[in-house]
Symmetry: C2
Subunit: 201 residues, 2 copies
C-alpha cells in the first residue's frame, strides 16, 4: 500500500501532514510517497487560491482556520511549529531540488530538512544563500543539489508531477491519494488511515 502525498514545502499544512503521516505508516504498514509539486502551479491550473486570499474578506472564516490549526497542533503535540515570518515563501528552488531528489534518490531527508527550516526555524528559503547555508548545516552537499535543481529533467519532473496531480483531482495541498481515492486537507488524515485499512481488507 502506497499513499501519494501531493506536496509543496511552502504550505504549513504540508508540514502538519508530514508530522502525522509517519504514525499512520507505522500503524498500517503503508508507505508514504512524497510527490513534489508546485502549489502555485496547482492554483494556476485550477483557479484555486491560497486560503488567506480566498477567505481573507469573509468574516470569521480565517479566525476559524487558525483555530483549526491550533487544535491540530494541540491534538498532535506539534509544539515545534512556528509560522514562517517570511510567508509566503517562493518554493520554486526548493521544489526543483526535491524533484531532482525524487529522480536521484534522497527525497525524504531533503523534504524533511526543508520543512524544518521553513516551519520550525523561520528561514527565508527563497533566498539561494539561505538555502545553501541551511543545507550545509544539515550536512547536505548544497552546491551539488542546487546545481542539480537547474537541470532540465528536474524542472520537467516538477512540472509533470504538478500537472498529473491536477489531472488526478488535486486543487490544493496537502492532498493524499490512497489508490485513486483522494483526500484533501490535514483534517482528512484519519480518513486516509481508515481508507488504507479498508483497501487492505
Amino acid at each position: 500500500m502506497v499513499v501519494d502525498f501531493i506536496f509543496d514545502v511552502g504550505s504549513p499544512n504540508a508540514y502538519f501532514a508530514w508530522k502525522v503521516l509517519p504514525g499512520i505508516a507505522a500503524r498500517t504498514g503503508a508507505e508514504v510517497r512524497i510527490v513534489p509539486c508546485l502549489l502555485g502551479g496547482i492554483f494556476k491550473a485550477t483557479g484555486n487560491q491560497a486560503p488567506m486570499i480566498a477567505f481573507g474578506n469573509i468574516r470569521n472564516k480565517m479566525a476559524y482556520e487558525m483555530l483549526e490549526t491550533r487544535r491540530f497542533i494541540r491534538d498532535h503535540g506539534l509544539d515545534a511549529f512556528q509560522m514562517n515570518p517570511h510567508f509566503p515563501v517562493n518554493t520554486l528552488l526548493m521544489m526543483r531540488m526535491a524533484a531532482a531528489a525524487e529522480i536521484d534518490g534522497g527525497l525524504e531527508p531533503l523534504a524533511d530538512a526543508f520543512l524544518h527550516f521553513m516551519w520550525e526555524s523561520g528561514r527565508k528559503m527563497d533566498d539561494p544563500d539561505v538555502v545553501r547555508a541551511a543545507l550545509a548545516e544539515k550536512g547536505f552537499d548544497a552546491d551539488r543539489l542546487m546545481a542539480r535543481a537547474q537541470e532540465p529533467d528536474a524542472k520537467a519532473r516538477l512540472m509533470s508531477n504538478t500537472e498529473s496531480a491536477v489531472e488526478r483531482g488535486a486543487f490544493g495541498i496537502p492532498t493524499f491519494f490512497v489508490g485513486e481515492e483522494m483526500f484533501f486537507g490535514k483534517n482528512t488524515l484519519r480518513d486516509v488511515e481508515a481508507e488504507i485499512l479498508r483497501q487492505r481488507g
Copy 2:
C-alpha cells in the same frame, strides 16, 4: 452539556448533521439544541457564499465536495437522502416557523419534518401551498404554524439568532458550539463528540 446546532433546513449538510447528532447525544448524554437561523443572513453578514458559487469555477473542487458527501452518506448509511430538485430553496417561511416553534415549543419534530420534505422527499418547500400540504400530511396544524410565522416575535427571533450566530463566529451551516468551542461542517462531528467528552472531563 448542550450542543448548539446553527441550523437552516436549506442546507443538505444540515440534514446530514441532523442524522448523525442523535448518535452523539446518545453516546455522550449531551443535548442538541437547534438554533434556527437564516443561512442567507449569515452569508450577507460575513461575505461568505454557497459552495456552488464560491467553488463552482475551481477545477476539481466541487467534484471533491460531492465525493466527500458520497463518503459521508456511505459511512453513516444515509441512503434516504436525495438532492432536492428545486435546490436552492428559499427557506424564509420554514425558518420563521422554526423560530416560532423555538419560542412556543415543538421545534424538534418540526425541523425533522422540514428536513424530511427537503432532503428525502424533494418537495418545493418555498411554496406555501406545498408547505401546508406537507405539514398536514405529518399531522401538524399547518394553518396555525404558518400564521404564527408571520408574527413579529418569530421574525425577530430568526433575525437575532442569525446575528448572534455570526457574533459567536459562524460563517456557514452546519456550525456547532460546544460551550464556546466552535466547529464548522459535517466532517467535524467527530470533533464535536470528542470536545463534549473533553469538557465533561
